[in-house]
Assembly symmetry: C2
Homo-oligomer: 346 residues x 2
């Protein structure tokens, strides 16, 4: 019999609530012969306040033994900005070489969008996850004085860019429309921009069926609101990917339904799956959080581990649930989880 | 009698056409006693191809003698990406210390927006113009090899951040709502982020009437499409400003109506005013370009030089024209210019 050994990191704020529903749906969808084992980890603001730790080497060694990681949300106003982000989230993405940060956007019929005319939205962003301006490279001199200088260094390597570009081409090749758009700012960030553009054009030779396109990041934000249907697969750098995926989530149903995978495609390390939204401390503990993004992250997790049929069932359940929402009274976090669990089981 | 000595840079693509209308409206609005002198400069793709030059020291010395600069658009597909951007546009912004890049967004009644429900949009972005990831700092090693590394260095100084933050506070203070939002990514770009945040909080003490707010750039893109009415004045870094002002233009009537000023507030150097849109070579020479963004840039130019009443008249003319567009057949570039010129004269 098979097994799925999962590290679960509920985290802060609404993390606990949404992760509970994610696990509920996971249990309901998994075939009987798969033994699901989960282990909870207490990372986040509480542990940081108690011990000063965000993520130790011993933690990483423990996490590494799992098949995958499911994360709720990390972050709390009581912790200075950057401490948990750099000390936990980014540390984990870098330590486990999560270089493919996968963020699908699909607007389902009937789902609310801020855009007029209910456009067709169905694309996926492949965001680089281990380079660019996210490396923490840089520094500060003369801090706090009128002569302070602070730098941030975006580091981009042929190795790092090529592997994520190749992954994106393969994903585009596997989709019906077979279109890949590179998003960068190569007219201003010319060093990194040329590296990205040259590698993109080189790898394109190996995928003659994939139609390619280039957009500056500023223009991409325009098209995301005026012509989102033009996108199929987007590949982009870590920071641009951060920005455009929040915008993409906003136009395609909101961050309540935006899922993401921090993927190590070679499976040397466990991949991590998490909703795009944050810990939302203002609504924590009230049963108001929408667990859909976490449930969709569970689908990404299953697909990564080869459980494609089960992932499809979750996607279908969410689609059916979302499509019917407009006519229904609002439900609590666990009511939504129950509805999804019963759909995938049924 | 007064004089206004203007450098005019039509540039590439639709630049020529839109600048002609901008000048038409400028002539119509200026008081009789103001002597308007203009001098055309041939910067752009044509000159680059002919001479290899983008902007020489001698050019800068000539431009410096004008009161202000009106630019159409620079850029052509025949020139490699980055050459004219870095070699002309950014070189000019840096050489003339255009540290306040001003980009207002206002959605007028009846104007088309991709957003549902015709939200209230009336804010201005103060984008830093001489620092951040735009400095051209960085480099490439092992170019074209599998071991290439390309870096981009964002340079941020207390001097540079404080002056633009102070400018933004003053602008917020002068507006009815008196609200200023800092947009950055201080949880990831912690060196630059702390500098921006600390200076923002320090300068805030001097403007007790201004309500302050902070948003990460990714969250800002969400609010720009879901709650654009929450913004009054935004201050942000060069790259984030580039991205969010294109998005802001898209939601508030399109880049056909988005104006910008590259301002040197101390007037040591002439400021430059330009539409946010590019040279749109696909529609160049066909009379299809909308000159409204250029006309609104002329209004910003007039306001910068102290012609507030004239700037107000242009803004009012554009507002009236835009509001009536929905019911009218499409007009050519010069028809729109004529209509605006006759409104401001009348
Ligand atoms: C919380 C933050 C570090 C993170 C990021 O910037 O990547 C978040 O915005 C995201 O998109 O997952
Ligand atoms: C053309 C380019 C250099 C420029 C920028 O990035 O600033 C443009 O996008 C703008 O916003 O004015």
């Amino acid at each position: 019999s098979r097994s799925l050994n999962l590290a679960v990191i509920p985290g802060d704020g609404i993390g606990q609530e949404v992760v509970a529903e994610g696990l509920k749906v996971l249990s309901a969808v998994l075939p009987q012969d798969v033994k699901l084992e989960t282990q909870d980890y207490d990372f986040g603001a509480k542990r940081y306040h108690a011990t000063g730790e965000t993520l130790t080497d011993a933690d990483l060694a423990q996490l590494k033994r799992h098949d995958a990681i499911l994360l709720g949300a990390i972050g709390d106003p009581s912790v200075p900005s950057g401490v948990l982000e750099r000390g936990f989230l980014l540390k984990l993405r870098f330590a486990f070489d999560h270089h493919v940060n996968l963020r699908p956007s699909k607007l389902l019929p009937g789902v609310a969008t801020p855009l007029a005319g209910q456009p067709e939205i169905d694309f996926v962003v492949v965001r680089e996850g281990t380079e660019g301006p996210y490396t923490g490279n840089g520094g500060t001199i003369r801090k706090g004085t009128p002569h302070e200088v602070a730098t941030e260094v975006s580091v981009n390597t042929a190795y790092g860019v090529e592997r994520v570009v190749r992954d994106a081409f393969a994903r585009a090749q596997a989709r019906p429309r077979k279109k890949l758009t590179l998003v960068h700012k190569n007219n201003v960030l010319t060093f990194a921009g040329h590296l990205w553009t040259d590698i993109f054009n080189k790898v394109a030779q190996e995928f003659p069926e994939v139609a390619t396109d280039y957009l500056h990041v500023d223009a991409a934000t325009i098209f995301l609101v005026t012509q989102p249907e033009r996108f199929d697969v987007i590949v982009t750098d870590n920071l641009f990917g951060d920005i455009i995926t929040d915008l993409a989530a906003a136009v395609s149903g909101g961050i309540g339904v935006a899922a993401s995978g921090n993927i190590n495609p070679g499976r040397e390390f466990p991949s991590m799956f998490e909703p795009v939204h944050g810990s939302a401390p203002d609504i924590a503990g009230q049963g108001k959080a929408d667990p859909t993004a976490t449930v969709l992250s569970v689908a990404l997790l299953l697909r990564h581990l080869g459980y494609d049929a089960e992932a499809d069932r979750i996607d279908a359940a969410v689609a059916a649930d979302l499509t019917e929402r407009a006519d229904r009274p609002a439900r609590s976090t666990s009511e939504i989880g129950d509805a999804l669990a019963s759909r995938v089981a049924g």
